[in-house]
């Protein structure tokens, strides 16, 4: 799977192909390691690791419904990955993705079910996505301003805005946008027929396509356009950016607007394509988990697609396994943590080896 996705980056050029294969090797090793180590944990829990992983992959990758669920989940995750790629490449640690996601989700969930009664569905879907981008961007505005004009570290401000946003979205669901027709605190629900269209008669939401298009566009923007290069200059050396006449504050604002806007869009796609409503206290914390994945993908869009696919499949598979094999799906967290650490270690080891070779 990873080999295939990384092959896409090679463009058929032999040296790049070799580099891609090397990268794939560096990714596969840690994956195997992570599965071996978490297999040991399963043994301690007296669960046969082969049964467990067999079931996880069968559900997440092989069964039709599992694959469809995996692919559907990828939509919002890819958008979050795209959001983080923009920020990280520009050297800005946007750790507030979960709030941006939730704010986008909540406003869309509040708005879309009402609007479909008055407007054509396609228009509502398009407008909803626009609204979510704007809401997300607004939520990223404050850290952006503080960073751009006061030099205040964005890690701390985005973390705070994250707490704020999670609480606020929950409060909004309970107090402002609550569905008057149910007693459960949740927003109105977008009817299944009015959601994002599914792909080719399957159950896969077209959110997947939106996610893929956006992350590839972001990857292209960051690597092939003047705007992307400007952002990378700001990320790599802000003094050089100033020296070269780039407006660092304006670019910082632009980065936050795009990054947080995409975070909001991720929320909209999750609602419009999958959930249909937001329940109170709902927070899947996707962005937080995606942060290290994007980092390990070296901010590369193609690699991020691979990691997101793996992560979605693991998540979907283990949720099924939890119901069947009495292994709570917290177990996925252990696997993912092991994977992250092993990937980071391998990367470090490869860098050391390169340094020793004097390349």
């Amino acid at each position: 799977m990873t080999t295939e996705t990384t092959n896409l980056t090679s463009g058929g050029l032999p040296p790049r192909l070799r580099a891609a294969l090397a990268t794939a090797g560096l990714s596969l090793g840690p994956m195997i390691g992570a599965f071996v180590l978490s297999g040991l944990v399963l043994l301690l829990m007296k669960v046969n690791p082969f049964d467990y992983y067999g079931y996880v992959f069968q559900r997440g990758l092989l069964s039709p419904s599992g694959v469809q669920a995996t692919l559907t989940r990828m939509g919002p995750l890819l958008l979050l990955a795209a959001s983080l790629i923009v920020a990280f490449r520009a050297g800005l640690w946007n750790l507030g993705g979960d709030a941006q996601f939730l704010m986008g989700a909540v406003f869309v969930a509040a708005w879309a079910p009402l609007m479909v009664q008055h407007l054509p569905v396609w228009l509502v879907l398009v407008l909803s996505m626009l609204v979510s981008v704007v809401i997300g961007a607004i939520w990223g505005l404050l850290p952006a301003i503080l960073r751009a004009y006061q030099g205040i570290n964005e890690i701390i401000t985005t973390l705070m805005m994250n707490f704020l946003g999670i609480s606020l979205s929950s409060a909004l669901v309970k107090l402002v946008f609550a569905d008057p027709d149910t007693t459960v605190p949740q927003t109105r629900t977008l009817p299944v027929g009015d959601r994002l269209p599914v792909l080719f008669g399957s159950n896969v939401s077209s959110g997947l396509v939106i996610g893929l298009v956006v992350i590839l566009a972001v990857h292209w923007m960051m690597t092939r356009t003047a705007f992307g290069l400007k952002l990378r200059v700001v990320g790599a050396n802000p003094e050089a950016a100033t020296h070269a006449g780039l407006s660092v504050p304006k670019l910082t604002l632009a980065v936050f607007a795009i990054s947080a806007g995409l975070g909001g869009l991720a929320g909209a796609v999750a609602i419009l394509g999958q959930y249909g409503n937001v329940r109170a206290d709902w927070n899947p914390a996707y962005a937080f988990t995606i942060v290290p994945l994007v980092f390990l993908a070296r901010f590369n869009g193609y690699a991020a697609i691979g990691y997101v696919f793996l992560f979605s499949a693991l998540g979907i598979g283990s949720e099924s396994a939890a119901r069947r094999l009495d292994v709570p799906n917290y177990f996925t967290l252990v696997t993912v943590a092991l994977l992250l650490v092993l990937l980071a270690v391998t990367e470090r080891w490869a860098a050391l080896r390169r340094a020793r070779k004097g390349v």
């Binding site: 301003i145 503080l146 205040i152 890690i155 707490f163 942060v291 390990l296 943590a337 270690v345």
Partner: protein
């Protein structure tokens, strides 16, 4: 309304503030040590969870709450040791490893809890309060603040201890050097890696105590994900405090007050959702940052691994 503000109510309110403040204080002080030494410790949420679980497990297994705190400290230090190994020794990215450790600790503690306690739900005995002679006799303030579990006093006693440590000991200078100019520390003949390792382990210990406080004293049970962002608030507190332990305490009191106010208000019959109250401290801090525009001074080498000879 007026009838609700009885002495008992105010005592409960103050007591709640203290209980909510202690874990934040420990997390903030712990994070402060790492940050001073140049390690941005995003993994403290994980350390805290591990502390909460370790504390609960040992307290439950041994029947001794004090041993439980020891277990909590060790639990936090285990995560701290991993952080030190990966970030200080191997120089891996501190944000990636921190998040990975937090995810791992969430998974491991939830899994262990599921395996061991999900059918039993044991509760711990209550830690006996230690009234401070004299002070505990003061009306209202006495029972609320001076008739508390001994660990509460110890947690607050850490603040002057840290002021002394940072100001009056070599360790204080060394931590600051490790964060601001690690190469200077190295040429002064002190190992940067050693100081940073010590700092991260100390963070694990303190944050682990904070987690143990949550499970042993505040709740009496362990619940998966029970730290609820306390560790992250600790990061915010440490960054805002700019190296001053007293500021961490001040910040912890503000956040602690807001976190505990919900229950108090509900008791008082004022129906404000938890979410709104929990937003208040963040709103306040963001407003202060926006208006004052103060640059939160952070150590120069924060987040950067130290490699000898690299300039």
């Amino acid at each position: 309304m007026s009838g609700l503000f009885t002495d008992a109510f105010i005592i409960a309110l103050l007591a709640g503030v203290v209980a909510a403040t202690v874990p934040l204080l420990l997390a903030g002080l712990g994070e402060q040590i790492s940050e001073k030494a140049g390690v941005l410790n995003i993994g403290i949420e994980g350390m805290m969870l591990m502390g909460a679980y370790g504390g609960f497990y040992v307290a439950w297994a041994s029947g001794n709450l004090w041993l439980g705190f020891l277990g909590g400290g060790i639990g936090g230090m285990v995560v701290g040791a991993l952080m030190a190994l990966f970030c200080v020794r191997m120089g891996l990215n501190q944000i990636v490893v921190g998040i990975a450790l937090t995810l791992g600790a969430e998974g491991v503690t939830a899994l262990l809890h599921y395996e061991q306690f999900s059918r039993l739900y044991p509760r711990l005995s209550v830690m006996a309060p230690l009234p401070i002679p004299g002070l505990s006799q003061i009306p209202i303030v006495g029972p609320a603040l001076f008739t508390r579990e001994p660990v509460v006093y110890l947690a607050f006693a850490l603040v002057p201890l840290f002021v002394w440590l940072f100001r009056r000991t070599q360790l204080g200078l060394m931590l600051q050097a490790a964060g601001d100019k690690p190469a200077a520390l190295d040429t002064a003949g002190v190992s940067v890696l050693k100081i940073r390792t010590i700092a991260v382990l100390a963070t694990g210990l303190l944050v682990g105590f904070g987690g143990a406080f949550l499970s042993i004293v505040a709740a009496g049970v362990f619940v998966p994900f029970m730290t609820h962002g306390n560790g992250f608030i600790g990061i915010v507190l440490a960054m805002l405090a700019r190296g001053r332990p007293t500021w961490v305490m001040g910040g912890a009191l503000v956040f602690g007050t807001c976190l505990s106010a919900t229950t108090a208000l509900q008791v008082a019959g004022v129906d404000v959702p938890t979410d709104i109250i929990q937003m208040l401290p963040f709103v306040a801090v963001m407003a202060v940052l926006l208006v004052a525009g103060r640059k939160a001074r952070l150590p120069a080498a924060l987040g950067a691994a130290y490699v000898r000879g690299e300039r």
